[in-house]
């Protein structure tokens, strides 16, 4: 795991300061990824507050003179009012698990799970901001905001990690009512914490998606021989005499964990997606974009 492949906790502050002047590396990745998603106009399909032209309608009693579009009205006898499309901004909250387990990568040419999760989160943020939404991070107490400045703030906040444990759990601090939320994690931690977070989100009518980011090694368990497995911080150890014989049991447990997560999503109306770090990020971003759009509708 080299420095470039991973936004390491040690270098977060110095790196975020170093990149503050320019686009952060994360932003570059995310911008690149976001560029692959073609943004359509996704307004509310009715007149309201917004920038985009919606329709001209004949002026009615009660409309102020200031609302009349004189250029249009001058071409006919009646008076017309120019209406814009209602573009109510939605809020998208992003939660990236930055616990130690996320820093794992099975091969030096693969990005760590954390890096992939951060990239996906930022790309989604960029896409959302371009779509006019407000974005924010769940573990911060700040409300979601729109605009490029918010992207920069989020990028820095993503790098400014203070998680210490082996496994993380979504601990949403800010979740606006009726907003959208996305959690990216390997979900190897306590399942109860995830259940609690999703339950709370459902209470606040927040819909969203769980993205489980896994390294291929975690999917196939290609180990053999006498092995001592350690968690990323070294806190948990497990010794086996013949690693290969554990493979079936491990895979069963992993499948069970995935099934549990899917079940959880189904019950709360969330959506579940599995992402592998050896796959490109674009399909997952597209899936996320469409998933959020759907629940939005």
């Amino acid at each position: 795991m080299n420095d470039a492949a991973l936004h390491t906790p040690e270098s977060l502050r110095s790196r975020s300061e170093a990149v503050a002047a320019t686009l952060p590396a994360l932003m570059a990745d995310a911008q690149h990824l976001a560029a692959t998603v073609l943004l359509g106009v996704h307004g509310r399909k009715r007149a309201g507050m917004g920038d985009e032209f919606w329709q001209y309608r004949p002026a009615q009693a009660g409309d102020g003179y200031r609302q009349i579009d004189w250029r249009r009205s001058a071409r006919s006898d009646g008076h017309f009012i120019r209406q814009t499309e209602w573009q109510a901004a939605q809020s998208v909250m992003l939660g990236v698990d930055d616990a130690a387990s996320m820093t794992f990568t099975g091969h030096r040419n693969r990005p760590s799970k954390l890096r992939r999760a951060q990239t996906l989160a930022m790309a989604l943020a960029i896409v959302s901001v371009r779509g006019g939404e407000r974005v924010g991070l769940t573990h911060l107490a700040e409300p979601p905001r729109g605009g490029t400045a918010q992207l920069m703030r989020m990028a820095q906040a993503l790098m400014d990690s203070d998680a210490l444990g082996d496994y993380g759990a979504p601990k949403p601090q800010t979740m606006p009512m009726g907003g959208r939320a996305v959690f990216l994690s390997d979900f190897f931690g306590d399942i109860a914490a995830i259940e609690a977070a999703l339950g709370r989100a459902a209470d606040r009518e927040v819909k969203g998606a769980l993205v489980q980011v896994l390294d291929p090694d975690e999917e196939v368990f290609p180990y053999d021989g006498r092995t001592v497995f350690e968690s990323m911080t070294g806190a948990i150890r497990f010794e086996t005499l013949k690693a290969r014989s554990l493979r079936e049991a491990y895979l069963a447990r992993l499948a069970e964990r995935k099934a549990h997560l899917q079940d959880l999503c189904r019950r709360t109306g969330w959506r579940y997606h599995l992402h592998h770090t050896d796959q490109p990020a674009e399909p997952t971003l597209l899936w996320l974009y469409r998933a959020l759009e759907k629940v939005r509708g």
Binding site: F104, G189, R226, F229, S231, I236, L241, Y250, R253, L254
Partner: protein, 919 residues
């Protein structure tokens, strides 16, 4: 053969007892686990291993390790297969080697045996001296340590003669004892061997090492009944033995080769046999030596000399149709003298000349027809020897009266003279002793030779120099002069006994012999050779290889005839004047007698099984086993991923001693591949870095131009070293001529000629603008003449205006380079090439010129740097640019010409070309 096994330090083998203990220890230590970071460990918690396998080392791995350790212990104990028997003894040691011609056949065995004996002496710490009996050391015995002798062992060589045992016995009796002697003998009983044995035994114990290989000797060839017979003798005679005898000589092209090969079979028990060659005289006369195929050694090579050569002598007498009595025939005595040693032919002169005889003898023939005279003069100029005898006809004729004809050595006075006859005063004359400038010098003059009549030579300034025998009153009897490569000899008397008694005497035969008309029939006696000095042409070494003699001092004839061979008289071919005598190691009367040793002297064979040190093999085995163990351990511990497993197996295979060798392209192959995969222009490396750079840049520029304008896309040009590189890959060779260029070697010229004959083309560029005209004047021009002299170059002509070179790609009439000279030469067009009516060009459909010679410094005009800009200034302004352009066009035409040959000469293109030419 399985011999005994011994150990240098057997005590170490006790360490093998520890192996079972090691088994127990190794078994107790399981392989260490791998530590892995793995986030999924959370899911693993609580799982149980259903089988516990590798907490103990598997038995086969244990066995592997134990075997590796055992191999190491055995290896360090120093196992030796076939340990040498120990010879006891101490004190100084003398190793005597015969080093004679008879030792040459198994000389490597002898040297190896000597090496083993030296090893033995070295182990025992004894001072050693090695003495070759054919090369006795002067002064004291050179006693040194065995290690000091070992590096000198390979430089010991057998000598091509037998050791002088008498001298050796003298030398041995002067040594101080006690001295143990080991004698590596050749198995022949050289005279005096008994004395030496006795002298050595007086010094101390003597052991003899004698090979069981047979000694074969090849005697000089004899000429009998029209066949050449070569006798072989051998020492032992038990088994039948078939050998091939090969006659070597020059073939008509002057190349040494095997001229004939015949089998000689020793019957079981026989010690002598013969190989018989029935060869035509032309072939026989070319034989230079006989040797036994496959046997090395001076004893199996025998050189031939004049004894085997039979000259073809044409005899012509005046008035051949005269019905004379035999004894009066002008040719009778010549026939008698020459018949045993020469092939005589008689007939008409014009017929005889066609047979190209070595010698033509004209007995009393005065005038020849102009045609005959011309033929004969021509033949003499080409190296023939014409011998004329005087007689009544010659005396009466006007031949050589006023001036010396080409077929007479001197002018003659009219009529001749007669002395001591019935009608004259005085006594018959005798011969004056031969001067030392005469080829007859040293011949004894019998008292009964009397000259009663002769033709007289005109006094002349050159007469004295041309006289090789004269009478006591100083008048010439035999005169000689050279014409061209041959010579003309005139005996001023008749060839019969009419005018003198010379033809009756033995001197007559000897004189003919000295003139190399006849050849001596057998090995010459000392008396025959007295007074002559012989120089060695070629000498044999001990292995029977013929070498150039270099500058060895001359040998007096009597020594050459009789003295035994020694360092001062090596076997070989000795020459004096026109005669050659071979001294061979084995003579016709050489008898091979096996050496006999006193019963008390132990005689050992030469063969010995060298002790084989197995230490390295065992240690290597241990290393390989450990390597296998390392890989197996890694595999057991699961630390080998699939790819690494393959790599490890590969590494194991590579580490094995018999591992396959990777095949790699050699540098030449890579170069050949480069040169053949693309069209590649080449230039000759002259050794002058500036010229070579210009050539490279020039050809690069030309390649660029070709690339841009034509479908020829050449690879970067290659510099060619004529001495090393193969030329066949290159269509064209650009050869800038420098004044101080080194001449290529003969081998390089052979390759160059092969290249030219197989369709290659060399462009010579003297770079001197032809200021001196073709081939002279400038230093480069002169150098070109020397460089090109050995090349196979056809007649040349300046490029004719209708040459294909003027229209292969561009239409050109000038071929400028940096200079603007019109003189560019190439192979002359065939003389019968003629323009068909209405055609502008002659029909020149065959042949690409092998050379193109000019002095315009084309490379400088073509030269471009890496960015494609011209390197050298050409001319002035736009005219210079035009000249460079034309030079490049010439280059394009040249390459097109080389690549497509005379394709453009095809008349199909004529209409189009005519149109463009505006005709």
């Amino acid at each position: 053969m399985i011999g005994s096994l011994a150990f240098a330090t057997p005590l170490l083998l006790t360490a093998l007892i520890a192996l079972p203990v090691l088994w127990w220890i190794l078994r107790a230590v399981p392989p260490a686990p791998i530590r892995r970071r793995f986030p999924g460990v959370a899911l693993l918690l609580g799982l149980k291993d259903d089988e516990s396998q590798t907490d103990k080392t598997p038995w086969w791995l244990l066995l592997l390790r134990i075997a590796a350790l055992a191999a190491a212990i055995i290896g360090f104990a120093g196992p030796v297969l076939n340990p040498a028997a120990v010879r006891t003894g101490d004190g100084p040691l003398l190793i005597v080697m015969d080093a004679s011609w008879a030792s040459a056949r198994d000389w490597p065995d002898r040297i190896e045996r000597a090496g083993l004996l030296l090893d033995e002496a070295g182990r025992a710490g004894r001072p050693v001296a090695i003495v070759a009996l054919t090369d006795l050391p002067p002064g004291d015995l050179p006693l040194q340590s065995a290690n000091a002798w070992l590096p000198r062992l390979p430089s010991l060589v057998p000598r091509p003669f037998a050791p002088d045992m008498v001298a050796a016995a003298d030398w041995a009796s002067g040594l101080d004892g006690p001295l143990e002697t080991w004698w590596i003998a050749d198995g022949l009983d050289h005279p005096g061997r008994g004395d030496l044995t006795a002298a050595l035994r007086a010094l101390g114990p003597l052991s003899v090492f004698q090979g069981d290989r047979d000694v074969v000797a090849l005697a000089p060839p004899r000429f009998e009944d029209g066949e050449v017979r070569v006798s072989l003798t051998r020492l032992g005679g038990d088994a039948p033995l078939a050998l091939d005898v090969v006659a070597h000589g020059l073939d008509p092209a002057g190349i040494p080769r095997d001229l004939a090969r015949n089998a000689a079979l020793f019957e079981a028990g026989a010690t002598a046999t013969e190989a018989v060659f029935d060869l035509p005289p032309e072939l026989r006369n070319r034989i230079t030596r006989f040797e036994v195929a496959g046997l090395r050694g001076a004893g199996t090579v025998t050189l031939t000399d004049d004894g085997l050569q039979r000259r073809q002598v044409a005899l012509i007498a005046g008035g051949a149709t005269d019905e004379q009595q035999a004894l009066l025939s002008p040719l009778h005595y010549l026939r008698q003298a020459l018949e045993p040693t020469a092939d005589l032919i008689e007939g008409a002169l014009s017929d005889l000349l066609l047979a190209s005889p070595d010698v033509v003898i004209l007995a009393d023939i005065a005038t020849l027809s102009p045609e005959e005279e011309e033929g004969l003069t021509d033949w003499v100029d080409r190296g023939g020897l014409l011998v004329r005898f005087a007689g009544p006809r010659l005396a009466a004729s006007d031949v050589a009266r006023d001036d010396v004809g080409p077929l007479m050595p001197v002018r003659l006075r009219e009529g001749g003279r007669s002395v001591g006859g019935a009608m004259s005063w005085g006594e018959p004359k005798r011969l004056r002793p031969f001067p030392d400038t005469s080829p007859f010098f040293g011949l004894e003059i019998p008292q009964d030779v009397e000259i009663s009549a002769q033709v007289m030579a005109q006094p002349d300034p050159e007469l004295a120099a041309r006289t090789i025998a004269s009478l006591t009153d100083g008048t010439p009897l035999v005169t000689r002069s050279s014409h061209g490569q041959g010579s003309v000899v005139l005996f001023h008397v008749t060839a019969n006994a009419e005018w003198s008694t010379l033809p009756l005497s033995g001197l007559f035969v000897q004189m003919l012999e000295r003139l190399a008309i006849s050849t001596q029939p057998a090995t010459p006696e000392a008396a025959d050779l007295e007074g002559t000095i012989w120089t060695a042409d070629q000498v044999l070494d001990g292995f029977g290889t013929l070498r150039d003699a270099g500058t060895r001092p001359g040998v007096p004839g009597e020594i050459l005839a009789e003295a035994p061979l020694s360092d001062d008289l090596l076997p070989g071919l000795y020459a004096s004047d026109d005669r050659r005598i071979a001294r061979n190691v084995v003579t016709a009367d050489t008898v091979l007698i096996p050496a006999s040793w006193p019963a008390a002297v132990p005689v050992e064979g030469m063969r010995v099984i060298a002790p084989t040190d197995l230490m390295a093999a065992f240690l290597t085995g241990a290393l390989v086993l450990l390597l296998v163990d390392a890989i197996a351990s890694l595999w057991l511990a699961g630390r080998l991923s699939g790819l690494a497993r393959g790599a490890a197996v590969l590494a194991l295979v590579a580490a094995l001693p018999q591992g396959g060798q990777a095949q790699d392209l050699s540098e030449e192959d890579a170069r050949a591949l480069l040169a053949t995969s693309e069209v590649t222009l080449a230039y000759v490396l002259t050794g002058d870095a500036r010229i070579d750079d210009t050539s490279r840049a020039g050809l690069q520029g030309l390649s660029n131009t070709l690339f841009q304008r034509t479908s020829v896309e050449p690879a970067p040009p290659i510099g060619v070293d004529l001495e090393r590189d193969e030329l066949a890959f290159f269509p064209m060779l650009y050869w800038p001529v420098t004044a101080d260029q080194a001449l290529p070697s003969a081998a390089a010229y052979r390759r160059l000629n092969d290249y030219l004959r197989s369709g290659g083309m060399i462009v010579f560029d003297t770079r001197d603008a032809h200021v001196g005209g073709f081939g002279s004047g400038t230093p480069e021009g002169r150098r070109l003449r020397t460089l090109a002299a050995p090349l196979d170059i056809p007649p040349l002509e300046p490029v004719p205006p209708d040459h294909i070179l003027t229209r292969t790609f561009y239409l050109l009439q000038d071929f400028p380079g940096r200079h603007l000279s019109r003189d560019v030469w190439l192979e002359a067009s065939p003389p019968d090439a003629e323009a068909v009516e209405g055609m502008p060009f002659r029909n020149l459909n065959d042949g690409v010129t092998p050379v193109l010679i000019g002095g315009n410094d084309w490379a400088a005009a073509w030269a471009q740097d890496e960015t494609g800009r011209p390197l050298y200034p050409i001319g002035r302004g736009s005219a210079g640019d035009r000249q460079r352009e034309i030079a490049l066009r010439f280059g394009v035409n040249l390459v097109m010409y080389v690549l497509s040959g005379n394709y453009k000469s095809d008349q199909v293109h004529v209409p189009a070309l005519l149109e463009r030419l505006g005709q």
